[in-house]
Symmetry: none
Subunit: 209 residues, 4 copies
DNA sequence: AATGAATGAGCGTTCATTCAT
DNA sequence: CATGAATGAACGCTCATTCAT
């Protein structure tokens, strides 16, 4: 059963997420979070039980939101052609990772502690895998795709490449025209998306006509 | 000029690397490291000056080793055909990441502190970019490759996908036949390598004959 | 503007002062102070920020108190005759040094660190110098004193002699009749005061009639 | 029985004395001393047994030297008139304190630990007390002095005033014409000596004619 | 006779958490 | 419901000292 969060709790989770993504879980003290959030140091234990539980709730909360979001998204593309669906999925995943990079930045790094929680991420990834599987199969059946790469590998390429770009900004920005804080993210996102589109459509043996 | 390390220092760095990769820099105490290494708590300050300097040395040491290793590798493939070279590069990078995943697991996460050090990593990545660029251009010139994807994007796909697999074992192991501790790594490495080969050769428009 | 201290802070400062006067700043650990005060080791950082800042506050606090105290004292003698005033000043300074010897015991020894703080002590000493100057000049003008020794030298003799007695108890107690813990201080104070009265009135060429 | 010191030990003691006088006993680490002396960190334990014992030896050594020195001095004045002797004693004590202020600067501050050692200082002070007593009595007998102040009080005034000046340089230098590092000490010494001469001859009721 | 590697204890400080209000 | 004072444990580090050579 999942926890319902109050507005204040959500606010704290947002602050915590940002700091933790920047500084790491251990590198972010409860005092940091509370100070930035303008609340009492005792509040995190008070609201969430402990720092670690807060982390768990933060995780839960973001997964929940992302699931809901993905459902909505899946709906919007359900009637499209496979190649369009694939293109939209790539765009969606890349976009979400860039938008919530705070979250995804720590999700695989900081959750060393809570194994239970990892299963939720698993379920979540499998949502994507299943969706990709559908699209690939449908495309192959309709003849628009030639090959059938494993959906988990396609997902791996999408998420892996995007996270690498996000986490290695000082590397990737050398190849991105605009480097100022505001536009970099947009340019980088575009570049990695283009790369993934080419790469994945190539491996699918997409026969554009 | 770079520091030379004694055997004992290297031993400590190895222990530290493993723990830090698992638990993060802040999550790994000096006491943890010394306890696991069977040495006195004072030794890290004694040998390296401080925990942070140790981190820097660890980084330096591993980059140094990897550079040397890459030079040797580059030599062994310098006379091959482009498609063979590309295949070997992919195999090499994936293999190195799996072998030294301890190191690469934290390299982009834990080095928030030392900007100077990031530049070394940058130089290092650019070694790969240049090599990939050479190979792609040569392949296109000789007609074996049809397209010219950006080398930085190819590198991004290779490293990103591999790290994702390494860091999300509990996801990827669902699609890997053997899951026991010993053989998993080997199987996962093979799977991700195959995926990358297909993916990158597809995007290169490789015309096998 | 100066910091206001809570009762608990003042209590800790008192404990710290006593220990530091006995054992020196470096020789007194935070654990010593907290243990004697019956509080947690974290409290000194908690209340004062750090051990060093605590030292600074301790100094500030005592100077403040002593200044206030001196103002009151100066008022009580302002209408007396110069010889009476001089006598009272000597009595007052000696008395204060004996009473707050903990503080004066370290004031010139332990404040190697904080130059800023030394200026406050300087101002403080100059208060005495000015007052002594007034009294001497008035006494000479009225004919009750014959000579005009420098006020800074008079102060030097008063404070120097008294501190020497306080700090070299095992020397001075040989010449003091009662040596038990309770009465020694009183006897020693009386003896040094008598010596200073004789000495300073002699140098002033005091013509008693 | 007293220890005999080798040249190297004396050298180390000299270095230690200077540092300890500046920074205090606790504020001076064995590493500081050894580093400044250009010797191995283990040497202090090796030569003296421990840091604390070294301190004790340092003390012993300086007292020994000062005793010998005083004997020589006492000889040179033994045939003079009491007023000349008194003048020379004051000059001698003040001079010694200024010359060996390193030593005297910590003698009453840092020897909190070693009670045994304090007795030696006691003996030493009593040498002065006896000498002063002789001179005073002789002067009174010969009619050149009128009063008989206690010799321990005279000594207290001499040592106390001088040490105060040495330890509170930033106070006293306000009243000293030359303040540069080289000449300050000389000027301050002269000023405090003049003050003591006036003060003590006044209290002795010295009838110059 | 002297070294330098290594130790264990203790340092000042910060941590997440608790508790009385 | 929320606070802020207070806690004990752990942190990275430096200390005087020891020990094998």
């Amino acid at each position: 059963m999942r926890k319902k969060f109050t507005e204040k709790q959500i606010y704290i989770l947002d602050v915590a997420e940002e700091l933790i993504a920047k500084q790491g879980y251990e590198g972010t003290s409860v005092r940091d979070i509370c100070s930035k959030a303008g609340i009492n140091v005792a509040m995190i234990s008070y609201y969430f039980g402990s720092k670690e539980k807060m982390m768990s709730y933060l995780y839960q909360y973001r997964v929940l939101k992302t699931r809901e979001n993905f459902s909505e998204f899946a709906d919007t593309i359900k009637d499209g052609k496979p190649e369009m669906q694939m293109k939209e999925i790539i765009k969606y995943i890349v976009g979400q990772l860039f938008k919530y990079n705070y979250f995804h930045g720590f999700v695989t790094q900081e959750l060393r502690h809570t194994d239970s929680v990892k299963n939720e991420l698993l379920d979540f990834y499998q949502l994507f895998v299943r969706k990709l599987d559908d699209v690939i199969k449908k495309g192959v059946a309709s003849g628009v795709f030639t090959f059938t790469p494993k959906p988990e590998d396609v997902l791996t390429t999408i998420i892996g490449s995007t996270l690498f770009v996000i986490r290695n900004r000082n590397f990737y920005e050398m190849y991105v025209p605009n480097k100022d804080e505001e536009t970099y993210a947009k340019e980088a996102e575009k570049k990695v998306r283009m790369n993934l589109l080419l790469s994945i459509f190539a491996i699918l043996g997409y026969a554009a006509d």
